[in-house]
Each structure stands twice: as C-alpha cells, then as structure tokens.
Amino acid sequence: MGYFFYYFTKFADHFILVYSCLIFATYVILSTYSGLDIINYIRKNSFIDYRTILTAPTAPSISILAPAYNEQATIVDNIRSLLNIHYVNFEVIIINDGSKDNTLQLMIDAYDLEPVPYAFDQKIDCKPIKTVYKSRIPSLTKLTVVDKVNGGKADALNSGINVSKYDYFAAIDVDCVLEYEALLKMVKPFMEQTEKEKVIAVGGVVRIANSCKVQDGKIIEVNLPSDFLPRAQVLEYIRAFLMGRMAWSKLNGLILISGAFGMFDKNIAIQSGGYNHKTVGEDMELVIRMRRLMEERHQKYKVVYLPDPLCWTEAPASFKILSRQRNRWTRGTAETLWFHKNLIFNPRYRFLGMISMPYWLIFEWFAPIVEMLAFVYLIIMAFLGILNLELFITLFFVIYTFAIMYSTSAILFEELSYHQYKKKRDIIRLLMTALVEPVLIHPLTVYYAIRGNLDLMTGVRNWGDMQRKGFAKKK
C-alpha cells in the first residue's frame, strides 16, 4: 500500500507538471502564430477597399438568419440595425422560435407585416413553420419573418436555411451589433476562394459591448466594461479570439466559429445535415461536420477566421448568468466531441483528426477537470500532512505569473492590432484586471465547467435563461 501511494503521488506530481508545461507550450505556440498572422492580416487590410464589393458583379448575395426567442425588449431595434447593414444584395430572415412573449406581435406592428404564401424546399428537417410574414412597406422587401413551433436555436437556424434564397448565409444572434463593414469583410474570403480550395465557413472576432455607447444599432463609442465581471471576460475573449483562433485558422484547424456571428456556404451546410438540435454546442458541431464532409470527399477547403472585431455582444454581468453560459459551453463541447469521437486521432481526417480534435479534447474539455483534480489532490496532501509547501507555492506562482503574462500579451496584441480601447485609463484597468482575474474569475469558470460536465452526465440539455439587459439607447 505504501509503495502504491508513493508511486501514485509521484505519477500525480509529474502529470500535473507535464500537463501544465504542455498547456503553456501550446499557448505560447498558438499566440506566436496568431501574432504573426494578425500583423500580416492588418498589413494586407491596409490595401483593401471593401467598398469594391458593393459594385462587384461577382459579389455573392447573403441571407442573414437571426433566431429570436423572447426578445420583446429589443427585437424592433435589432431588426432595424440588421436592415441597415452595409451591403448590397442580402435578405434578413428573423425566425421567431415560438416566443412566449410579444416578440412576434411587436415585429408585426413595427414593420407592418402580413402573412404571405411562401414556397420553400425543406432541405433540413425542422419543427413546423406556422406562417411566413413579409412587410407591406415596399422598402422592407429584404425582411422576412418566420414564425415556427419552438425547437431551439439549431432548429430555428435550420428553418431559416430552408427559407433562405441565397447561396451563403450568416447566422447571427439577433441582439448582436454588427460593425459597419462586417458583412463585406466576411464575404471577402468567399470571393477569394479558388476551384482548388473552397472556403466553407468564415468567422470573426466577437467583442464585448458592455458599457459601450450604442445608438441606432451601431457602436458609437467603445468603452471598457465598468463592471469587473464583463471586464474580465474582455480579457478572456481577447485571449481566445486574437491569440487562439487566429492560429487555428492559419493552420486550417479551426473547429469553432462563434454562434454569435458566422457565415457559411449554404450548400455544404445542407449537405452536412444542417445544425444539430441535439446539442447546445450547435455552432461548433456544424463546423466539425462541414469539415468532416469535405475531408471525406477529399476536397481541399478552408475555414477562415478574421481578427477584425465584427460583432459586439453583451457579456454576462452576473455570476448566475455567467455560470449558465459556461455550463452550456462545456456541455456543448463535450457533446460535440462525443458525437465526433471517431475523428479523434483518426489519421483519415488529417489535421482535423490528429491535431484539432485531440487538442480540444485534452486541453479545452479536459483542462478544467485536471485543474479540479489537482486542487483536490493538493487538499488531500495537505490534510495528510505531506504537502510540499515549497513546491505548491512555487508552482502556484509559476501558473499565476504565466497567466498574467499571457493576459498581458493579449492586451499588447489588442493594443498593436485594433486599439479598440483608446482611453489610457481603460488600458490601465485592463492590466489591473489581468492581475486579479486568474485568482478570482478563473477558479469560478473551472467550477462552472465541472458543473457543466456533471449536468451533462445527469441529462441536462437546455440552454438556460440567458437574461440580457440589452443595449439601452445611450447618448
């Protein structure tokens, strides 16, 4: 028994150390790759006039799909914002997913909607569509409202795909605020594709709009969130989007495009089967399935990620809402990895199977579990009186200083790239947030992730109520 205990603790110590070193190494590699790619992208962007797309005969037409569920607080303004997107040929399809409040009636009243006979092909199975509405106002021909039986976000998007006219669709959260040239920037990678290499999906950076000034559906002044919790999430988002996903896109290993805003080749999405309504991680699951389809067809393809801030969304400002969000993200990740488990370490799927999927399994899904187990291990060692305090303290400070270093690098990336936070005090506050976030917020996110895994094992499938304050009209 003594030998077993001795070797077990030896193994545990080594495992924690090696796992930590591997995570550090991957973060450093990914952020280096991302940094170089962002510099390249910004340099390229300085030569691009996106307005060229507005008069281009080769510019594709886009269907914007925005599912809505109980959005009565902001739906009218949100639709107005979408209709004013800077693009030429597009349609806006709002899918009312069986809202229990006045979402539908508010839209009908505000936009003078009436039922129309609408023929479409049901290319993807979804819950029944009750009515399709169009406006009597001639200038609102771009707007289509679909009223359907409640089926969840994935189901709503699938019905939007069925109803849409065009070859590309952009899936957007209805309460997101898009940047002025967002659609132009998202469309460009599709226009750059060749016969040899097809672009199947494009994603962009989602930024946090808390404390920003919003007017007429546009961000008119960018501010750092005044509350600590959303401010900590700003750091998280910069780390994840600017320092992580850019690298994955460069390596053509990206398997996640944010559900808040992403653009897809409709044909490929349909051939993949559309959004999966059996998971709350439908955004990630669709991208993996589309990639899988292309791999199985041996067709060269790309999933592109743009570092431009294209979309602004409200981050959870309370721990309760944050916990629901992180819980859902964990369940979505776990479900998606489970659905596609036969891709993991499968050489048939090349980079997707050998690198991307294993990385997400080991360093994204498994990381909170390792952290929790390491914490429990430390408690047990302390309880037994055999905790190596020197090792514990030094390891803690290694991890803590690495976290600060990584966050500070993220702030530097943001500063040198898009420089969204122009006020000096915002940068100072962000730097201060980087000092406390690893000890205050990160343990909570680990806890929420563990809860997510437990909830998944006990059969929880819903989204949870993501209450949002909405972007109040601020002057």
Partner: protein, 381 residues
C-alpha cells in the same frame, strides 16, 4: 518530489543571506523560481511595450500633424496659385531640408501627397505628380519595389500607379504572377491605371487564377476608364487560363459588348460548365434575344446549375418561343422550386398567353404547385 516536513524560513536581511536561502532549496524549486523570475521580467517588458507603444504612436501622430500643418499653406500655394513657383528653382526653398532627409518626416510628406492626389483630379492632380517627381519621391517608391518585404512592394506599386509613373510599368509586370495574392492584385490595379489605352495588356501573361475578388477589383478599375479605353474582352476568350476567360465573359456582359454575342453563343457548346454558365449570364445582361432558341434547346441536357441560369435568362428575354419549356417544367410531378419560380415569372411577363398557361396549370389541383404559383405571383416576394 515528496517531502515529509514543512519548513518555515526567517526573512533574510542581506544579499548573502538571500543567496544562502535560495541555494538551500532543492534544484527543481530553484528552476521554478527562475521561471517565475523570467515570467515577471517578461510581464514588465510587456507593460513597458504597451505604455511605450502608446507614447510612440502619440509622438508619431503629433509629428505627422505638425508636418501637415506646416506644409498645408505650401501645397495650397503650389496647387491653386500660379504655377511659376512650382516650375522654378525656388521650389525647393519651400521645403525644409530636415523634413526631406528625415525618414519619418519624408514618409509623412509622401503620405500627404498621396492623400491629396486621391482627392483631386485634373490639373491639381498633375501638379501633385510634378511635386512628387521634383522631390524625388518616385525614387523612394521605386526602391520599395525592390524590397524583400511584400507590404513595402505593395506600397511602392500603389504610389507609382497613383502618381502616374509610367516608366515603372515594366518592373511591375513581374508581380502579376507573384505567390502573394495581394501583390498580384496591386500589380494588376497599377498596370490598369498606368496603361489606360491598353489596360489589360498583361492578361495574356497571367498564369495565376483570378478569383472573384480579383475580378471585382479589376472591374472597379475598368469602370473608372473612359468608354473608348475599355478593351475588347473577346481578345482573351481563347486564353489557356480559365479564370481569365471567365473574367472576360463577365466583363463582356457588364460592359455590354454586344458585338461579342455570336462568340458567346459558340461558347455555349463548350465542355466546361462554368464557362457555359458565365456565357449565359452575360447573354442575359446584354438581353441577347438571339440566344433564346439555343437556350431552350440546351435546357434538357444541362446540369441543374446551368438550367437555373438558362431560366433566369429566359425570364429576362421572355418570348413565346419558351412557353412550351415553361409549361413542361411546371407539369413535372415534383417540380424544382427555383425552376418553377423562374418559369412562372417568365409566363407572367408574356401577357395573356402566359397567363393562360398558368391558369391551366393551377387547375391541376397540385397543392405544392398552387403554393409556388401564389409565391411567384406575390409582389411582396
């Protein structure tokens, strides 16, 4: 790695004591402490770089504003007043030697010239080009073409094109087939700009594919040219580069070069689906009614994508010759939705004869067809 006792230490008071304390730790602890120290140093450097970059940018912006304010009256004088100063030797006295010799200030001046040139045309633009040459900025731009950094090459291409340095055409040609797609695009745009009489002369030298984005940029450049300088795109329809062929077909339609219709009609017999599709679209844009019979004959043998393009064209051309085709499409047991919509819209444009066909079809009591007809006839959709 496991120890059985927890030691507490007294705080050292001298450097020696700190050293002794440090070396009293096991080697792996000392390594970890070293790592912490490195991380702290990196954090400090990052902090300094963040603050420093702000200060640097602020200073740079201040210098740029200073230069702009300083030379605004100079440019106003040179551009809008009598040109004697511009042509005389006293021109150089208007510019501070320090500003012309300092790299950053010189580049700010150049940026200012470029910015002004983007906003002016005619004689003012010509004067700007003269200022650009007299200050030897064309040498700066030409030296950028030799840089190993692609973004400097791209900048040089843009500057030389904007400032009409025609002698730079030859060195630019090498970039139309660069591996860097942005350099290819900039080179093409520059060559179009600098060779207005024969803007697409380089197309026959293209070995790389033109993407839809490349085509959009070329189209935008061509749209700015006087009508008499728009080339005959049929010149390149036999190119071995398929993307060049597709581009030219698209431009024939966009610029309505109706003389090329017979050539496009022959292209409908080609094997390549994308070429046929592009030709059909161009014929539609030119409202080439002579294509109608051929399109009707082609329809049954075509792929769904090309069939859809044919129907869009027939809808635009809309004559009674196509009625039987529309009727056939709408009577299919499982009619294709898009094909049906185009057919119905085309029939509606054919007046009473078309409406009579629709009336007969709507009497067939096919629910789906009823819905499709309602959809197609609804003005809101």
């Amino acid at each position: 790695m496991i120890f059985l006792q927890i030691d507490l230490y007294e705080i050292p008071t001298s450097a020696d004591e700190w050293g002794k304390l440090f070396y009293s730790f096991p080697i792996h602890i000392r390594i970890l402490m070293g790592v912490i120290l490195i991380f702290c140093m990196v954090i400090t450097i990052l902090f300094a770089v963040i603050i420093g970059s702000r200060i640097f940018k602020t200073n740079r912006n201040s210098t740029a504003k200073l230069i702009q304010r300083k030379y605004q009256p100079v440019f106003t004088q040179l551009l809008f007043e009598d040109d004697s100063r511009l042509l005389s030797d006293s021109f150089f006295t208007l510019f501070d030697k320090k500003d012309l010799q300092d790299k950053h200030r010189r580049s700010v001046l150049l940026e200012e010239l470029i910015h002004l040139h983007e906003n002016f045309t005619g004689e003012t633009a010509t004067r700007l080009e003269l200022i650009y040459r007299k200050l030897e900025f064309h040498k700066d731009s030409q030296s950028k073409l030799k840089s190993r950094r692609w973004y400097l090459v791209a900048k040089g291409l843009r500057e030389l094109a904007l400032m009409n340095i025609r002698e730079a055409t030859e060195p630019m040609l090498v970039y139309i087939n660069s591996k860097n797609e942005l350099l290819r695009m900039e080179a093409r745009i520059a060559l179009v700009k600098l060779n207005e009489k024969d803007p697409l002369f380089f197309l026959s030298k293209e070995t790389e594919s033109l993407t839809a984005w490349d085509m959009a940029n070329l189209h935008a450049m061509l749209a700015k040219l006087p009508e008499e300088n728009i080339p005959f795109f049929s010149t390149w329809l036999n190119s071995s580069n398929k993307s060049v062929v597709l581009f030219c077909i698209s431009m024939i339609g966009a610029f309505k070069q109706n003389d090329t219709i017979p050539v496009l009609l022959r292209m409908l017999d080609l094997h390549d689906e994308s070429v046929r599709q592009a030709a059909i679209k161009a014929l539609r844009e030119m409202n080439a009614l002579e294509a109608e019979e051929k399109l009707v004959a082609m329809y049954p043998l075509e792929t769904p994508t090309v069939q859809n393009e044919i129907l869009k064209s027939l809808e635009a051309m809309s004559s009674e010759k196509s009625i039987s085709l529309f009727d056939h499409i709408l009577r299919q047991p499982v009619p294709d939705l898009q094909h049906s919509l185009h057919s119905i819209k085309a029939l509606l444009l054919l007046g009473d004869k078309g409406k009579a066909v629709l009336q007969k079809i709507s009497e067939t009591k096919n629910e789906r067809m009823q819905l499709i007809i309602s959809h197609a006839t609804d003005a809101r959709l």
